[in-house]
């Protein structure tokens, strides 16, 4: 009876995870097979699609652009969010409630809706924004904001902020110095984990990139979309390379958060 039950639970878990695994695995096999026509199994295996991908300068460029946008927006987000959270937690703890509502907005408003307004607002701005990476840096900051706020706010509640700063003040440090030398090192893990998480999320962003910029500044996702007419093996190799990168980021993020709990 107990064994039967365990069998059932195992069946459910393995069954559902197999369903989730099939598309990933199939894409992986497809990227490794030399050709796979209208048959159930591929004809042969080779690494040529990865070779073709990694020597395509358009791929390298798109990847570089995506990296640039993601890193720039995460830098912007860090510079804006870190002092903001510190001020909120140290001077106006009541604002935390307001912030928790505000950071829901990027979740609640679908990117398609935001881009309607963004397109019209910045279409004729004196400083060209639409069609350039800069509009994406600004919007990606809002995407990263909820992740970063939650993670960093958690780190803030975990440390004894008031006492730490007061002690530093007593020893003659200014608030800025106390923040940089004492608070910041305590936030490092939470900050890094949220950065990796946001990074993997931003690398997969397609909606803003497609509507606001499109082919004028081809990012990884736009490149992926534009390659849809080429060989499926090639796009599979592209998807797997992208996925490996994402996997690395989420793995780093989860390692850091686990380390944080110890």
């Amino acid at each position: 009876m107990e064994n039967n039950k365990l069998f059932l639970h195992k069946g459910i878990v393995y069954g559902i995870s197999t369903l989730l695994l099939i598309p990933i695995l199939a894409t992986f096999i497809y990227s490794l097979s030399s050709s796979w026509g209208a048959t159930i199994l591929p004809d042969g295996f080779s690494l040529k699609w990865y070779g073709a991908l990694l020597t395509d300068p358009r791929f390298i460029d798109a990847f570089g652009r995506s990296l640039f946008i993601c890193i720039a927006s995460l830098l912007l987000a860090t510079v804006l969010v870190l002092p903001m959270i510190f001020v909120v937690f140290y001077y106006y703890p009541k604002l935390d409630k307001v912030m928790n509502l505000l950071i829901l907005l990027p979740f609640a408003v679908p990117p398609v809706v935001s881009s309607v307004g963004l397109l019209q607002l910045y279409a004729d701005s004196t400083f060209q924004l639409i069609g350039t990476p800069w509009i994406l840096v600004g919007t990606y900051f809002t995407i990263a904001l909820p992740f970063m706020y939650r993670a960093i706010a958690n780190s803030f509640t975990a440390i004894n902020l008031k006492d730490l700063i007061d002690a530093a003040h007593l020893l003659g440090a200014s608030t800025t110095k106390a923040f940089l030398l004492i608070i910041l090192p305590n936030l490092k893990k939470g900050l890094l984990a949220s950065l990796f998480l946001s990074f993997s999320f931003l690398l997969g962003e397609f909606v803003f990139a497609n509507i606001l910029v499109g082919t004028r500044y081809e990012t990884l996702q736009i490149y992926l979309y534009n390659m849809r007419q080429t060989s499926g093996h090639f796009t599979s190799a592209l998807v797997m390379t992208y996925f490996a990168f994402i996997f690395l980021c989420t793995w780093l993020a989860s390692r850091l958060t686990r380390g944080n709990n110890l």
Binding site: I16, L20, P23, A26, A38, L80, V116, L145, F201, L224
Partner: protein, 295 residues
Amino acid sequence: MNTKVIKQEQENITKQSLLSTLATYKPALWLIPFALFFYLFQIAPMVWVFINSFIYEEEWSIENYQEIFDSAFILQSFHNSLWISFWSSLVGLILAGLLVSSLRHLNSRIKEAMIAFTNMSSNFAGVPLAFAFIIILGTNGAVTLLLQKWGLIEDFNLYSSWGLLTLYIYFQIPLGALLLYPAFDALKKDAYEAAALLGASPFQYWVKIGFPILSPALLGTFIILFANAIGAYASVYALTSGNYNMVTIRIASLVSGDLFLEPNLAAAISVLLMLLLAFITAINQWLIARSYHGK
């Protein structure tokens, strides 16, 4: 003489209070850069959308909204989006719930591996996911051919509503599981054992204890999945090149299509979409308030 002194003192007091108020607000200066960027890229676009949905040919009017309700095409996009969002959220929630509840009975190593795996596969969405689905479930996809060979399906069209539903369910499962993991920890083994001692069958336990405890989490997860599905754009766009009629596809094509652009109509559709989401969230909150934990 007295009045002069009083005046002077009053001035001093106002000066002092002004200075002290300034001093208390000085840290708030650090909030300004953040507030500025948040306003420019999050608030301002929303405000623009709201205001311009009521402007038709440079005049205040509800013409845009009337156009939506007169257009069978736009109404169909709402119908399609609602249909897919509802069913994909429901099926996704059930499968995720089954996964999470069964996982509790397995050992912790499998559990940790599964959490890591769902975390990873929740990132498999959008354009890459659409491509993977084309490879395995497209007209010549390996799984399509396999299922046809076994006689399970005659003809599967990935680019139809059922194909899209499959794709949506796929990306709802990991997200649902990630949201449900913490909720299922609220189910204590003691409660199950106590119920069993008092003679309850597993079925009775679930109906009377397990489900009521979980219902707020299940409803909350459902609403997040629903919002996730109704706002989704990348996967359906990549799969059908924007040929399947969904709300997000309509909005995008009205602002960035090749034909005539009607940003104000797009704004009105956006406002209706947001209202719909708000309405569903309100029903959800009402259900949560009525459920076990709300009492």
